[in-house]
Subunit: 370 residues, 2 copies
Amino acid sequence: MTIISFIKKPTLLLDENKAKRNLDLLCKKLNEQDIEFRPHFKTHQSAEIGEWFSERGIVKITVSSVEMAEYFADAGWEDILIAFPVNILEMEAISNLARRSTLSLLVEELDSIIYLDKKLDSTVGLWIKVDVGAGRTGIPWGELDKIESLAQAIQASQHLKLSGLLTHAGHTYRANGREAVQQIYLESLQRLLRIKDHLQSKGLREIKISVGDTPSSSFVEKFGEIDEFRPGNFIFYDVQQYQAGVCKLEDIAVAVACPLAARHLERQEAVIYGGAIHLSKDYFHLEDGTSAYGLVLAEGPGGWDTKNVLGYVKSLSQEHGIIKFFDGKIAGLEIGDILCVLPAHSCLTVQAMRDYVTLDGEVIPTLNSK
Amino acid sequence: MTIISFIKKPTLLLDENKAKRNLDLLCKKLNEQDIEFRPHFKTHQSAEIGEWFSERGIVKITVSSVEMAEYFADAGWEDILIAFPVNILEMEAISNLARRSTLSLLVEELDSIIYLDKKLDSTVGLWIKVDVGAGRTGIPWGELDKIESLAQAIQASQHLKLSGLLTHAGHTYRANGREAVQQIYLESLQRLLRIKDHLQSKGLREIKISVGDTPSSSFVEKFGEIDEFRPGNFIFYDVQQYQAGVCKLEDIAVAVACPLAARHLERQEAVIYGGAIHLSKDYFHLEDGTSAYGLVLAEGPGGWDTKNVLGYVKSLSQEHGIIKFFDGKIAGLEIGDILCVLPAHSCLTVQAMRDYVTLDGEVIPTLNSK
């Protein structure tokens, strides 16, 4: 009997061995280069999975919300970075966190710095968010004067400490393969180092550099003059990362096990119980450009069988998924069979599913568990 | 002080008056035509909101999962249809529900019928799911023999009762305006009536017809020879429905209130705390074809101001939303201000947010509340 035989409704399966292997590989790479690993915990959102990191000597973490910081502080983490432009409306919770943790925050507005310094009664570290080209958040890398003015304001403050420059090179997720990602990484690093030089020339010292995205964690071999690395997704990966060549299909550590509810043999399709509320509506593109919401695998010894890709999730409603099977792969399937869906984007799938079940049948809760 | 001044993080606001107005309008329309209203509760997923329906005399409901059926049975609902091709792996829960409720299920496979009859020890109603053209689930409408064979199998069973023919004309959501939706509705109804005639000619009596989708609920005036109507989204509507002309902007009854975290004046954009885990990644298209994840409104007296559309949600990360403002609309906004985002697809946003807060500040939980 494998775990599959116990499943009755959409269930987020976690292959613990794969996740730990992904983790060990990156730990080794960063250790060898003496770079601090500050993993992003927004992907797994689980205190129990967090322990796998502390067992490997990791002491600093990244989160994406105040709520997540509180959850991991409760779980014993002491050095927490909230990697989101600070939301000043949550000042009270931030102050409480700052009293009990080594807390650092992200800023890109002078108004935030002024507000924080006025309201805080204990020290927090501030990272200045730099946009190195992704175009989402942060001060554009060329705006040296603006970045300097923020750094000077932090330096002159009472409760704030300048941690350094932080970026998320989110454009690596859209890049075309290994060399393109390496190119973005190098270019981003040069831009950050130029800013660091500028700040140092103005008397601002101890400027650290924090970067982190999963494509770079896989494709870049030598990280160069950075202090911290903060990827999150690498622990599980997903089909978006697989399609981008960042990981192998065998590295993907989570799958949603879904019951087959109805077959449509004439169009080589089936309906699964597993929809947008389980997988999320994030997608990837098949080689021919078709959008797909997951890759469908048969169950295999102790989990799912990466050698037996049956098809893909063609469309999603709230609770339904429609599977399009590859030639002949629907043959032999019956209602009540379980199909394993590798998600397009594991972070959003974990958020939606709330709990993991390991291949040994252990339930692992998350911040979002009921 | 309005509710907006109490908001600290992404919050799902519910304008109770708008939702009740939407509900009253459809109740009136269906009452006048003597059609049973069996609303789909997957949109609101809340026992408390369910009471608004029972106060209006509604006694039959639709849900999309066994878990949701259990939740609403616990809340006192006695006649429940699970409108999803039956998942035989949940047989035990289904049997328990059948013992305490008037339960009906959806089938499109003979194997499901055989399995159910073998396992059940009390009666359930079965609706045969017909695909009238949406191409998602159900037996294609032209396959009269197959539909008849299922109906005969139900008739011949011990624990199953043939309720009738059920369809969800999901292609109305992709249709181009009022006349196109009316056309689909009429065509679907003709297809169902043809099947009903066929079944009656074979001695199968008391075949009811159950249909239901939100575009038809708004655009169709005379529903014709149907027995039940099952829309869900109409209670809140959303920007997808607004863009399709199904509702007015003022009819949308939910919005996610999001703190403004950082401004990018040079590109007329801002970062809000409010991302894919709050809004879902469902989207609509602006007039020029751009994808957008929500429409951004200023706060207004007692809620949001439909006369002051500021821009749209251009992109979403896990917790970040990037707002693109219309010309000049970013002027005067500061960090910590609240922006109200009308969601692309309210059903998925409600699922993600879990709790509502009414404009009076009352918290309304759902099935998914922690």
